[in-house]
């Protein structure tokens, strides 16, 4: 290659690099409105919330001033923090694990392509398309304590007496978890079914030829290969359950007393019933940190998968 040729190649590379940089800049220009929109609607409110949590803004009073970390001290010394944290942990852990376990079982069934599997898939998704407030109100009617409540009516048909479903703290929490699990299963099914359908069939065939039982194939092939998807389901489900307000508020409202009060309900009560915006923002900031931890977890789960995909 002559010097001239080398210069030409170099020139081409430089112009390609320039073009690529221009392309990046061009793309950036096009995505800028979207980025600005997202930042305005997420980052700004989040940072503003953090700022408010450092003030004593309460709509019952005129004006507000900077109070430093007072609201955080108040939160971490709050008498009911233990109860609310325990309720939230019980609710989140139980409903998410149930969603994933039942969701996986349903996904495996739907993956078998049995007769009517398309219809079953549509039916499975139904709870997910219902507005969650409607779900909460419908189940509140079902478990209404009077004899006009649907569950009590059904029990009366088999000779069982009337029950006050939401009066017992443990039963109220169990119903809350059950309803949220019911609502969350379709999401787990969709994600896990998608994951199951990407698994290579030849591995299963090879295992079958080697004499592996169904359980062994599930235990040693499906579960390990589906692990990242299951983790994503767990993390997203945890985020959803942690921030869940609509169903718990419509169903139990945190009652009886505050036996089923979750952190999101506390935030709502402080901000919108007590009008203590700063304290509500403090609870919101703590939840934001919890959500950020989940996002970090989510990204760290995805990372090895991306690397593996890149080869």
């Amino acid at each position: 290659m002559t010097d001239l040729d080398q210069a030409a190649v170099l020139q081409t590379r430089v112009s390609r690099r320039r073009a690529s940089r221009f392309q990046i800049n061009g793309y950036f220009f096009f995505i800028l409105p979207g980025v600005a929109f997202v930042l305005a609607l997420t980052l700004f409110p989040a940072l503003y919330g953090v700022y408010i949590s450092l003030t004593n803004l309460n709509l019952g009073y005129v004006g507000s001033s900077f109070v430093g970390l007072d609201n955080y001290v108040r939160f971490f010394t709050w008498n009911d923090l233990g109860l609310v944290a325990r309720n939230t942990l019980t609710f989140v852990a139980t409903s998410v694990i149930l969603q994933v376990v039942i969701g996986l079982a349903v996904a495996i069934l739907l993956d078998q392509r049995l007769i009517g599997h398309r219809l079953m898939r549509s039916i499975t998704i139904l709870p997910w398309v219902l507005p969650s407030v409607v779900v909460g109100l419908v189940f509140a009617q079902i478990f209404g304590g009077s004899r006009l409540g649907i569950a009590n009516y059904l029990l009366s048909l088999v000779g069982i007496g009337q029950m006050s479903w939401f009066a017992d703290p443990a039963l109220a929490m169990a119903i809350l978890i059950g309803v949220c699990t019911w609502r969350g299963i379709p999401f787990a099914v969709i994600v896990l079914l998608g994951g199951l359908q990407t698994l290579p069939r030849d591995v299963y065939e090879a295992a079958a030829i080697d004499g592996a039982t169904r359980w062994q194939r599930f235990r040693y092939i499906t579960l390990p290969m589906l692990r990242p998807i299951i983790l994503i389901c767990l993390i997203m489900g945890t985020g959803g359950a942690l921030n869940s307000l609509d169903i718990p508020l419509a169903l139990t409202g945190g009652g009886p007393g505050n036996a089923t009060e979750l952190i999101a309900i506390s935030l709502y009560k402080q901000s919108f019933l007590q009008l203590d915006i700063s304290y509500g923002a403090t609870i919101g900031t703590v939840m934001l940190v919890a959500n950020l931890v989940l996002i970090v977890l989510y990204l760290s789960v995805l990372k090895p998968r991306r690397r593996a995909e890149r080869g």
């Binding site: 004593n56 709509l59 009073y61 009066a167 409202g253 009652g255 919108f272 007590q274």
Partner: protein
Amino acid sequence: MLSRIGTIAVAAAFAASPLWIVGQAAALELNVFVPAAYSPSSGFIPGADVFKKLYAEFQKQNPDITLNYEVLDPGPAGLQKLLTVAASNGLPDVTIVDGQWIARLVQSNVLQPLDAVWPESDRADFHPAVIEAETIDGKPFGIMFQTGMRGLVYRPSMLASAGLTEFPATFDAFMAAGKTLKDKGISAEMVPAKANEEPSTMHMLSIFWGLGGKLVDEKGAPVFFEGDNGKYLADVYQMYRDMAAAGVMPASVTTMDENGLKPFFYGGETLAIGFSSSGVKQMWSEMPDLANDLAVAPYPMPEGEKPVTILGGFAYALTAKDPERAAAGWKFIQFMTSPKNMGEVNEVLGALPVRNSIWKDNTFFATNPMMQSYKRMYDGEMQTRPAVPIYNTISSAISAQLAGVISGQVKPVDAVAAARDAVMPEYERQKGR
């Protein structure tokens, strides 16, 4: 020929359009914030119809004003919205406010005083307690157009079937009757006792005030736990506990708001429910046989005591500062609160009037036995909830203890102490502002 007609029509339309534009420009757009229940958007169809009719009538009488209404949440979120729009200069010209919000809104200069425009002669038609509830520093800041009263709503036919001729007035007599009803599988009473729900506290307050209790002192400091006040509050808790322990009231009320009690009442599972007068018309429409079989009784009290009725309701208030807009706003308020229109709204919604003339002249309120029962309560002692910012915290703290007390896990005196412990740190925190 046709094309010529078309051309003339288009030319005429163009020629007339400046007139139309001028007409539109001249009309003042009056912006009003109203809770859905008191607007043409009401879910209660007869209510929606009456507001549609009145708004149309106002428009007809005032072609120079175009009425725009926006729905406002009747709960604390409504107050929040008003304060937020005030901060961003987006206030409407007129708004309906809960009487409890008036003091806070006046503090933030959201409401305009009505003393200069509201004639004394018209004010004289209102119950003095109503005027007092809306007055700050001698100036009225709203015109209440209805009040809700809470009491025990029951079916006289059910009372008769239990062998009673009249609703027990004393707590002891009520407990005795309740035990008889219990043997028949019927609870005597259900009152809402859900934590952090304002109506839960309101039902308690009538008894607490009737016993002589005070929530706050003259300076607005919480005193509900001190001395006699603390004892009276513990007595109220004890009454709730006694009813639950004797099976006169089911413990499950701790999970219910007022609407949650209705199925028990409709299904004949309870003799009486703690309910607001505002929902009576809705009850009649949901269960027509109640139209002639519904009555209200004050809360049974210890011997020699009488409950105090809570006075509270929604009021029209002026927010416009600009003289032209304020004049238009006042026209609208005057129209909606005139005896005729206010009476019509009150009758359709079943909301209790606050004008003496409506109680006297409106056939429904003057003759309906249920309404007359409310009138007797209205003529008795009435009190408004203290319009101090700490009230929300007090109310929440008092109702939060009900579940523990009713289930027997918390003693009444401990519940009073717990309510105090929930309120005082917040009061101390806010006192220094």
